[in-house]
Symmetry: D3
Subunit: 220 residues, 6 copies
């Protein structure tokens, strides 16, 4: 259990949060994406914040109570299990507690329950499963240690961006750089969007015809 | 095919139906839950009723017609296959027939189709898949025999509770006892919810600090 | 890359499009259905059109730009990968381009991203996954060749019918015949629906009792 | 924890054990089979015995130590988890202990480890996974209660038959009846085998041609 | 049911059979491969032959008896299901019958049983599952029609090549051409193998360094 | 591409290699284990070495050629993909090249082919799939960067231990400490093994009875 962690500046966080997961993932060189099985419990949903990392044993949600104590406004709980598990670690009571501490949402490589309540509370969750299966409080885990969640490596204080496309992690130290690249990418996309909407072809906009011919594409 | 089965009292049923799956599952000692792949075809959805159990061959929905004959108002069709299958056993015609007999919904460890119609009809279904694949009517199965559906053992007349979190089975004989425990649990949760919403920590409410320290949790 | 393909007559297309996937699949003898993992990104959704087939390498969406050039109003992009892949091949820019060419929707045995944008644009997609993972443009594939998509064999110009139940392919040459059978089936179902809604049993309407008894069904 | 259970007679057990899973499963009307994901850790392998049932929490193998105490020669440990888990609940130490008590093998709807040692010891195991992941000893479960293991309902004292094709459960009360049917089936198959090996066709031996023609099979 | 089909010349077949699946798959431009879940029931195993295609309903193996009648020496049974199914369609009796007709092996996108017997008989099978689950004989299917098996499109008379790496289909008309390319590829690989074994690097043999530098690879 | 990395001392490596994956995983506090889907292509198999990490695009094995150049005797190739892929990245030619450089084996979160050749060569591989599907050489990746492989975070130069139970990663800096703990654990297990083999119960050896009673275990 680590109490004190560094967090990204709130400015960078907020600005990064304005871009979607697909844009941020591209902006940092197609890294940091969690597996496609991580789905939001309701849609549309989006989330950005600073990661509180939690490592829990299978079927045991004790450490979530421990983690909530160190949540500050703007934090996101990111939970990995020490072995694969789909149990419902988190429900409306924990969400009530987390929201009271300013926690913005949950990303969990396991299951969640009380999803109707969580939806009504507007507490966004990305999870591997929705499952009413209860958990015990018998074995401690860790809070604010490096974890691997749904295939992505995360340190406490990393930036979490999530929307209907999934969840992406931006290392804290790279936040400013990624923000800049996301901004550039979005600007570039906007001009493309207008031309494509007008019927211009990507083949021409991106100047692909010569390259495709050279790679052997033949028209019949 | 068994025509006459015992059913739970309508009073217990209705009262149990007021609690969600997570609460009922906890109240009966974390048993009776179906696998997490059983998902509602629309959300929010909820269902309670007395089980008519059906065992069908793969790709053959003949027995559903047989089962509907014995449905009474308040019943729920619970369908297992004799080997894993995702075919669309059930669609709008069977739903029309089932509703006409007072059947409240369907729980099927297989596929379902016509989901848009079923949604418009307000006929709730929990299934393993949505799949248009048709079935034949060539081989009989069984109605109102003990079955295993999505990992849960069910007898005809058991209580089925389903919502957005999944499906739970309460043995008929335990319905009154589980009801009482669910009531106690809910009451207890309500007081906790108020304290958690006020920012009090689960660590303190549940008095976990000493136990965690004893289990070796260290703060850094 | 094949530029010129035959397409079904727009009349047949439109009429077939009025029937759902379950009906069309039955009408053509329970063939042509894609696997149940092909799900719409929003619901309700429906689609009909003439297939532009695309075969792409894993993690490479170059050919989608090539395919869009040959789209005509009423076409549907149908994309298979040369090996299984869940990457997000298609997002809002490609959708903008496809819509500008009259393309009606996308069926892809892989992933898609920007699903919130696609939902707002009303561009329907059936896919194996929602995944923000980006793709490269390095290796050509094929357009308008025979493909296998989610277990179904498809030729360019085949009819695609999709709704909340999944995706079905009707070979172009069979479109008129299937249309007729779908019409007959629907008419027949309508009369059954009325009788079932009135509480008559399928056992009686379909005259099943004797056959079931002969097959050994016993009542207890 | 139930100490005293009824077991099948050793004679029936031994005789049933001479038939394979496919034969026994057919002989009892195609019921009692566990899911196809239950695989032996080495092949060829076979096993028959009387079930000691164990229900364990995810990631917690404490109850296996409890269960071994009540094992008698000829017993088989049959382990289900209260929620899905692939952890390695069982390794060479537990196998050493189980063998010392006369236990013949393990059927576990979870993971197992030390598979090279278990193979060398000749201790057969059917499991959902091979996984080195360790477990804790923190939460009790149950021994000799009714369980559902890999989709099959089992009571303590039921007969377990396992081979390279999978695992089948025969209710204790039906053992003698199933034995008789397995014997009849095997005898019948033997005569068929000789005729098929001589080149005679199943179409003729089973007299299928007329029935197939009547069902609409046409030759082209 | 189609009795008469064209088969590849036995010479081409035999020669193609000398190359493994990986080589043949490459030689025909990386097409024709079945999904990776198709695994041999024993290893090492290999198979080549001319396809008899069979389409069967879920849980119904009637058509296998029909198909065996048209098997000639050198044929391979290739079985697809009309919807996904893992049942054990094929066991030692059918294998006895198939071997008596000269059938060389089985490729089935479903389950198989009696695998120990099949192994002892030396009858190779590639399947999606090993599962003792029995099937009925109630609904006809088709023999020698175009099918999609494990993601690959197959016509009767196509060449089937299978080994420990999986299963590949070569269209009959392309057999001679693919054979030639496989031969060239193998010759080329042999010289590379010698150089690689001597410690030369692929980077140098394939002259990759300049291209990698141009693509942006940097050494640190 | 990073050329120079630190490696563990050969002494520690060799000694750690004498313990199995289950023991090493326990010795380092149940961390570092790859997912259970990582299976050896032949059994028995075991491997220890220093990791050369490789990150590859889906369907593109170019970087494997780059990685082999930096292999030294005692190294193990550990390959992750930038998005999930089962293609056969590695076959007998790459194995020939890797062995010539002293590489001891391969751990790949993707597919492998030519498994019969690899088995005959005695080159051990742990992979997610066996799949003949070919790959291209079009897009660079990275060598000797931090990766996540099958759920485990790995740095270049970390220790890889693999056997029939799976694959475990020991951070280079912890190798000596884990070695000591593995030794202690093994010694402790040996004495337990003797007592268990003599029929003593784990309940008594580990002194569990009082604790179980206190946790509520009741005997009936």
């Amino acid at each position: 259990m680590v109490r004190e962690i560094s967090r990204p500046g709130p400015g960078d966080l907020k600005l990064l949060g304005e871009y979607g997961v697909a844009t941020v993932h591209e902006a940092q060189g197609r890294t940091g994406l969690m597996a496609s099985y991580m789905r939001p419990i309701y849609r549309p949903a989006n989330l950005f914040g600073s990661a509180i990392t939690v490592l829990v044993p299978p079927g045991d949600n004790w450490m979530l109570h421990v983690a909530i104590e160190v949540c500050r406004p703007g934090d996101v709980l990111v939970v990995a299990t020490s072995s694969p598990c789909e149990d419902g670690y988190f429900g409306d009571l924990l969400a009530t507690s987390a929201m009271a501490r300013g926690c913005r949402g949950l990303v969990i490589d396991a299951g969640v329950r009380d999803v109707r309540d969580l939806t009504q509370m507007g507490f966004p969750v990305w999870s591997k499963a929705v499952f009413a299966q209860g958990t015990v409080k018998a074995t401690p885990g860790s809070v604010n240690v490096p974890i691997v969640c749904a295939g992505a490596a995360i340190l406490p204080g990393d930036v979490i961006i999530a929307d209907d496309d999934g969840v992406c992690v931006v290392p804290r130290a790279r936040a400013a750089d990624v923000l800049e690249k996301a901004r550039a990418r979005e600007a570039n996309e906007e001009s493309k969007r207008v031309r494509l909407a007008a019927g211009e072809l990507g083949l021409d906009i991106y100047d692909m015809r010569a390259k495709l011919e050279q790679m052997g594409l033949r028209y019949e």
